[in-house]
């Protein structure tokens, strides 16, 4: 960013310098071009004067040919008129008029009509707009103050003199009167140039002059396209005899650019045939440079690029970091799972072994044991059971975490499943003198994973038996309500206090009561049983009070599909 700033600053300075240079060269060009044209005008006017002097009585045709030869339209575009005005004292007025009329211009009149000491009428003229002939020919230039001043100055000095800004005759009827200037060159009689003012006044015969709209001149010199440049502006002002500034031209963009920020502006004086004009040139600094050199573009571009690069690097870094973290995490997770699985497996086998050996002693396979021995071994056996339970839960958790538990739902007869499980526990119940009953129900289809629902049912029934007193009863009821199947396992055993209900379903939890040391169990805690029930879209709920037995209700959705064929009747495809 710093770099782009420096580059931008440098570019800005370059731009500034370049703008200044542009300005200088632009102004130089302006001066030269204007000077060249003015010089050309001078030459033409001088040549015209020579022609007038030499030809004595010049006529229109001569003037026409003279100007035509100059190819004015092409070489001096923007000139309104090249003309000749005769210097006619009052005494010679009628003679003058007659001369001109007889030479072909029958309607020639010196206008405005009236008696004056001196007339300087436009006698011959080549006009850019021939339609303006009427206003032009015979018009007495002397009647116009600015023209008069210039005529007098030209006569007295013998030099080319430009007027202050005027309005040309042909433009008088226009709404926007374009600024114009006329340049006069005195024509003297006689052979040698008069040497002083008195001589000039005596020998003055007329004037050759060029009339030009300033805007036409400028457009003709530089071309409208260049002047339309939105990033450069030109203004010309004439300084009048009264030392006032009068605007005679301003390019389309000038006024807007003049007030803009960051522009380069310069005013220089131009001498135009005795008059001083002021040219003000304004350039927008970025105009002189291409888009790629605009310091703002550079800075902003550099800024944006640096931000993008930074963002990209940042993203790459973060990505790497995340990926590393993720892979770390995955590795950790995998290690965890592996450890869990391995540990559980490895733990289970010896734990099973302990169960078998303790069981052997407890169950009479190694001879009689004393009551004391039995008591102690019972505790060991119970603790081992707990071990196995926990290991099972760990393994389940590991599998679930690794996404290895997949329910394979099948439509099967849930009633039959429950019957089988109940049958499996009959012996155990009998040995504890517990009355285990299952209220027969009609076959009920459910779509579930039979392995897992079996385990749930086994867990509920085994718990019921485990926590029942000898002589108690365990009732299993199965019914369907709407879209759901309810299996209720009811016992009249030790019960669970309300405050313990939440703990019941937690991982690895065990409510300690007088019966919890007994052997048995299906290897799953209630936690897992509930997990499996929930995984099927069902639930396990308990209602129980301490000392008042318990009812565990398993609820499972049915999700059976109606058979398409109904006892031989086709019900549509």
């Amino acid at each position: 960013m710093l770099l782009s700033y420096l580059v931008a600053m440098n570019q800005h300075r370059n731009n500034q310098q370049r703008a200044e240079a542009s300005l200088t060269s632009g102004i130089a060009y302006l001066e030269q071009t204007l000077f060249r044209r003015m010089s050309s005008y001078a030459e033409i006017l001088r040549s015209g004067a020579s022609l007038a002097r030499i030809s004595g009585a010049m006529d229109r045709k001569q003037w026409h040919d003279f100007i035509q030869d100059l190819d004015v339209q092409n070489r001096y575009p923007g000139t309104r008129a090249f003309a000749y005005a005769a210097y006619v004292p009052e005494a010679q007025l009628s003679k003058h008029e007659q001369e001109i009329r007889s030479s072909g211009d029958e309607d020639y009149n010196v206008t405005p009509i009236g008696s004056r000491e001196l007339y300087v009428p436009v006698t011959f003229a080549e006009l850019a707009e021939p339609s303006e002939s009427d206003q032009t020919f015979g018009f007495d230039l002397y009647t116009d103050p600015e023209r008069r001043a210039a005529l007098i100055a030209a006569r007295d000095s013998g030099e080319i003199v430009a007027t202050d800004p005027i309005v040309l005759q042909g433009d008088l009827d226009k709404a926007d009167k374009p600024a114009a200037v006329t340049i006069y060159y005195p024509v003297f009689s006689g052979e040698n140039k008069p040497e002083n003012e008195a001589e000039r006044r005596a020998r003055i015969r007329g004037f050759t002059f060029a009339a030009l709209r300033v805007s036409d001149l400028i457009v003709g010199l530089f071309g409208q396209e260049a002047l339309n440049n939105p990033a450069a502006g030109l203004q010309l002002q004439a300084i009048t005899a009264d030392n006032e500034r009068k605007e005679i031209y301003s390019s389309p963009s000038f006024n807007r650019l003049k007030t803009q920020e960051g522009v380069h502006i310069r005013t220089v004086p131009l001498t135009v045939h005795s008059k001083t004009w002021e040219a003000t040139v304004v350039i927008a600094s970025s105009a002189s440079s291409s888009f790629a050199q605009n310091p703002w573009v550079l800075f902003f571009g550099g800024f944006v690029i640096s931000i993008l690069v930074a963002a990209l690097l940042f993203m790459l870094m973060i990505n790497r970091l995340i990926r590393t973290m993720a892979s770390e995490e995955i590795k950790v997770q995998q290690a965890k799972e592996e450890l869990l699985s391995l540990a559980s497996h490895q733990l289970r086998t010896p734990a099973s072994g302990v169960k078998q050996y303790l069981g052997m002693v407890l169950q009479g396979y190694s001879g009689r044991i004393s009551k004391q021995q039995k008591e102690i071994l019972d505790k060991a056996y119970s603790a081992n059971e707990r071990q196995l339970e926990i290991i099972d839960q760990l393994l389940y958790v590991a599998q679930a975490d690794a996404g290895q538990i997949r329910l394979e739902k099948k439509s099967h007869n849930f009633t039959k499943l429950v019957e089988e499980v109940v049958a499996g526990y009959e012996d155990e119940a009998a040995s504890k003198k517990i009355n285990l009953s299952f209220r027969r129900a009609k076959p009920l289809e459910i779509k579930a994973d039979p392995r897992f629902v079996r385990m749930i049912v086994e867990n509920l029934i085994s718990n019921a038996i485990k926590y029942s007193y000898p002589g108690g009863s365990v009732n299993v009821v199965l019914e369907k309500q709407g879209n759901r199947i309810f299996l209720r396992v009811k016992d009249k055993g030790v019960g669970i206090a309300k405050v313990q209900h939440d703990r019941l379903f937690q991982k690895f939890s065990r409510i300690d009561n007088e019966l919890s040391r007994e052997a048995g169990g299906s290897g799953l805690g209630l936690f897992l049983a509930q997990e499996l029930a929930v995984a099927h879209g069902g639930s396990i709920k308990v209602s129980s009070e301490a000392g008042a037995g318990a009812v565990f209700a398993l609820q499972l959705p049915v999700f059976t599909k109606k058979p398409i064929y109904n006892k031989g009747k086709r019900r549509g495809v």
């Binding site: 699985s341 559980s344 497996h345 289970r348 086998t349 010896p350 734990a351 099973s352 072994g353 169960k355 078998q356 050996y357 069981g359 052997m360 169950q363 396979y365 196995l388 290991i391 099972d392 393994l395 389940y396 599998q399 290895q404 012996d427 039979p450 392995r451 385990m455 052997a519 169990g521 299906s522 290897g523």
Partner: protein, 124 residues
């Protein structure tokens, strides 16, 4: 006549425990440690019941069952295993297992009970 049982279990301690219990119950017990050994033994000896662990090296229980079934033998098989083995219980039953038991949870007495029950139903 004494019935004979083949115990197929790769863990030493468990194998020994099962064998001891069953012997004390009056059965003749053969014990091997994987399915391969079991198949070999069965070529020469006849047994009345097989106690089969699923997860074993060399040849596991499921593979044994397939091969055993292929020989169309009709000895009752009690399979015991654990939840975590990716067993297809249905496949195991389909392959001819008479009973599927959770290994870790059968106390000696329960094991004996199931063994006796299976043998009795076999007789009927």
């Amino acid at each position: 006549m004494k019935k004979s049982i083949l115990v197929i279990e790769d863990d030493l301690a468990l194998n020994d425990a099962f064998s001891t219990v069953l012997k004390k119950e009056g059965f003749t017990v053969f014990s091997v440690f994987n399915g391969q050994e079991a198949l070999e033994l069965l070529r020469y000896d006849k047994v009345d019941l097989i106690l089969l662990d699923i997860i074993m090296p060399v040849m596991d229980g499921t593979e044994f069952l397939r091969r055993f079934k292929a020989k169309s033998q009709t000895i009752p098989i009690i399979v015991f295993s654990n939840l975590d083995s990716q067993n297809n219980v249905a496949e195991i039953y389909a392959l001819g297992a008479s009973h599927y038991m959770l290994k870790a949870w059968a106390s000696p007495k329960e094991l004996v009970k199931i063994v006796k029950r299976t043998l009795n139903s076999q007789n009927n």
